[in-house]
Amino acid sequence: MTTATFSYATIAPALPEIVLLALASLLLVADLYLRGDERRATYRLTQAALAVAAAVTFMQMGGPSTVTLHGMYVSDLLGQVLKIATLLTVMATLGMSRTYLRLRGLLTGEFLALALFGTLGMMVMISAHHFLTLYLGLELMALSQYAMVALERDSGRATEAAMKYFVLGALASGLLLYGLSMIYGATGSLELTRVAFALEHGEAHGFLGVFGLVFVVAGIAFKLGAAPFHMWIPDVYQGAATPTTLYIGAAPKLAALGFILRLLANGLQGMTSDWQQMLVVLAVASLLVGNIIAIAQANLKRMLAYSTISHMGFLALGIIAGDDLGYGAALFYAIAYALMTLGSFGMILLLSRAGFEAENIDDFRGLNQRSKWYAFMMLIVMFSLAGIPPTVGFFAKLAVLQAVLDAGYTWLVVLAVLLSVVGAFYYLRIVRLMYMEAPAGEITIDTQPGPRWILSAAGVATLALGILPAPLMNLCARAIAASM
């Protein structure tokens, strides 16, 4: 191994992560000395840290792709797009959750610091160019999330969810690590480029590689929440405090996509036909399980959990296509999905108040009579999740279906289309309750301007990107082209 000199140029590409780490550490220390009302500063510092990291990432855009730190880390347009999306999503998540957390005494330094470290983990995952970096990022994210779920100590449901999440998550990490070690054995390297090289040039042990791949894909499927590794999703989504659910549900999907693209599309490109077959099974199972079981749910968080599973199936479809078109579609899908998740869980947060969780589907009954605007926002988000134009969800689905058809999987397209109709049924139920029923109980809407504005922005963006999707689509395509 060459001994590179340790200079600014080597670490400069990792500046966003470094900045975020420094600020998160600062926040940990500062929080110790803040009392009572001053705690507000902690929240502001958190948002500032995320904003600074996003700004630094933004300034890196347009630069050339660089692999640095002995091939451990890559900085490219794909990474930058995903990181900015992740950081903005986390900012919006925390912004929407502020009132909810404050009312429940959860707006503490611990929660915010964990959120920042989790975000750092996501960024590392996105920029990893090495099996170990990938794994470290993943674990940093996952451990922060386990702790965030468990942070609501008084809630039995949250504790149970944290336990399930941790045990199953640890198992998945084990699987992933085992699989990676097998691939290391087969190819002789942990660095993505060299793994890819070994696979391309037939220098790898084929059987051992595929053996490892099975475990890797299983581990990924667990983290993504694709069936049949989805068991934890409904329980964790329902059990965790809604801000935590939103945190887990939105940004990590972007990181997971980055992880998959780096690992499968970059590193294990030579085994495309092998992982394609595995992903087909996962995608079909996810679409079936997610769409069909969601119908029976009365709890909105649980319903959205199953909806997540089906959406992850769709995301996997994009990756199955196995070409730039498909990856670009998957990237667009992931960003659109994060936006829609902000909208849907954001509504739950907005309607919740002290001592009341608006998490049952019936709590949305008659929302249109209480507030036309927020009912309309929720309507847009629900139709977007169902994939009805003119919303971003439609173009996300269209791009994926197009790529899948191009790759020759006509039957998958037909199946996905048919299950979308099933999916439309339960999103429609929310719209139906909001518009066609009388309110059952009192409906209150968070009076703070912050959450209101962020939610409205998410709703409007869902519609606006459905009418003018071209800029974001082009950006996604460019990011993929620059990185594959």
């Binding site: 249109n368 009805i388 058809l405 109709v421 439309a424 429609l428 139906r432 066609m436 689509m473």
Partner: protein, 493 residues
């Protein structure tokens, strides 16, 4: 500056007014929303008039507009109309105006949202008829579902929620399959979403049949053809009057339009192969659904079933591949737009007074509402195909066209002249004539100026089209001839 953008105006003027109405809508003071909506619908109709005035009698796409929309996927904002779509845009804009007039004293709940839904839908429907890019078409086609879903579900009758969900899911299933067909065609044309390119691309027979069936699912649900018609009676009965008018007069036509714009030209060989199938379904609709209409006790349900039977004539006309048949189908679409809208509005007039749609609750209405009765009888006559009304022209042309193909088809189709007259006139007899059925009927007030306005506009339209269909025929004929030529050419390699 706006001269090159007539079609854009027909789409975006109603939508912009719809958004404005939504913004100023106030449940306690609905007047501003009402007047804004009226202004929007009048303006929306006026901007359509240049289409009629400036239309050249050729088969080319006219008033075209082309701008890139999603360059990466080659999706463009491409609009244009020919002799088939232009009259439908006019019809739609006129109907929207009538719906706005008709709602005035009747809808009192969430007025702003109600009117906004209709205006936005009007723009989306115009977009559906004008789109020349498949994705643009699809976006308009699907987006239309959202306001219609809300109209049925929010302002409808007792069973409205069931009807709205049924309507939505039926239509969604069909349209998603059509989307899959579009994506397939996109690759066959080497990356074009242009509908006119879809027309030209050679396709094998199997592919054509599959594409035909996928699109058939979408448009047959909209028309609706037997046996996928079951959403329509539910949706019609539960929808508010305005919803029924737009459903019957316009959205059903989108199904017919879809067959002409997509199924026939994209899959001409499959159309010939499956013509027997289509004709059979059409005849079942005409004969069987006509009999079903005969036994309805609910006026709206009766008109709904009558709509299905009349639309059977439209599809029959299209799939016998004669110019008479096709022209008849198109005239029938426009005529049915006027007549069914008029009948639903008539039922609405009665319903607003008595709050019942049951035929049994009425009788002798002519004694207390003579002016209304005159209109009702006129529209009923048009519905049963009386010469001199628009209903006659369409049915007659289709029967004429069918005669060139087969005697037995003609025989079955012609039974409608009996059943159609039977169910319509029997309903009119029971509702309008006879003894005054009770104190409620005796206390009825005749139609006011507002109701007179929309009934008179429709009466004029029905008679004008019935007496002189030539202007419409002149507009549609070049397109029909070109379409028939196209359908006769083999597309398989």
């Amino acid at each position: 500056m706006l001269q090159g953008h007539v079609l854009s105006l027909t789409i975006w003027v109603p939508i912009a007014f719809g958004i404005a109405v939504l913004a100023i809508g106030n449940d306690r003071a609905p007047a501003p929303a009402r007047w804004t909506a009226l202004a929007g619908s009048i303006l929306g109709f006026l901007v359509c008039l240049p289409l009629w005035a400036g239309f050249q009698p050729t088969a080319d796409m006219q008033f075209t507009e082309l701008a890139p929309w999603i360059a990466r996927f080659n999706v463009s904002y491409h609009l244009g109309v020919d002799g088939i779509s232009m009259p439908l845009i006019l019809l739609n804009s006129l109907m929207t105006l009538l719906v706005v007039i008709a709602h005035w004293e009747v809808v009192t709940e969430k007025v702003g949202q109600y009117l906004a839904a209709f205006l936005i839908m009007s723009g989306l429907i115009n977009g559906t008829f004008a789109a020349l890019d498949a994705i643009l078409f699809y976006v308009f086609f699907e987006a239309m579902l959202i306001p219609m879903f809300l109209i049925i579900g929010v302002w409808g009758g007792p069973n409205r929620v069931y009807a709205a969900v049924k309507f939505f899911l039926y239509t969604l299933l069909g349209s998603l399959l059509m989307l899959a067909a579009f994506i397939y065609l996109f690759y066959q044309t080497n990356g074009s979403w242009e509908i006119l390119d879809f027309h030209k691309v050679p396709l094998g027979l199997t592919a054509q049949v599959l594409i035909f069936l996928a699109m058939f699912m979408s448009f047959a649900v909209k028309v609706p053809m037997w046996p996928v018609h079951t959403w329509l009676p539910d949706a019609h009965v539960e929808a508010p009057t305005g919803g029924s008018v737009i459903l019957a007069a316009i959205t059903l036509k989108i199904g017919g339009y879809g067959f002409l714009r997509f199924n026939l030209p994209i899959a001409p060989d499959a159309s010939h192969v499956l013509a027997g199938f289509m004709i059979t379904l059409s005849l079942v609709a005409i004969v069987y659904i006509g009999l079903v209409a005969l036994v309805q006790a609910d006026m709206k349900k009766l008109i709904a079933y009558s709509s299905i039977a009349h639309m059977g004539f439209v599809t029959l006309g299209f799939f016998i591949f004669t110019s008479d048949g096709m022209l008849g189908g198109i005239v029938q679409m426009i005529s049915h737009g006027f007549v069914s809208a008029a009948l639903f509005l008539c039922v609405g007039v009665l319903y607003d007074r008595i709050h019942s749609r049951q035929i049994a609750d009425y009788g002798g209405v002519a004694n207390t509402m003579p002016v209304f009765a005159a209109f009702f009888v006129l529209f009923a006559m048009a519905n049963s195909g009386l010469p001199g009304t628009s209903g006659f022209i369409g049915e007659f042309l289709v029967i004429l066209g069918t005669m060139k193909v087969s005697f037995w088809y003609t025989f079955l189709a012609a039974t409608t002249l009996i059943t159609g007259a039977a169910y319509t006139l029997w309903m009119v007899k029971r509702v309008v004539y006879g003894e005054v059925a009770g104190p409620k009927i005796a206390a009825l007030k005749d139609v006011g100026a507002r109701e007179l306005t929309f009934l008179a506009i429709l009466a004029v339209a029905v008679l004008a089209l019935g007496i002189d269909p030539k202007p419409l025929a002149d507009v549609a004929n070049p397109t029909i001839q070109q379409l028939l030529q196209h359908v006769e050419q083999k597309k398989t390699d």
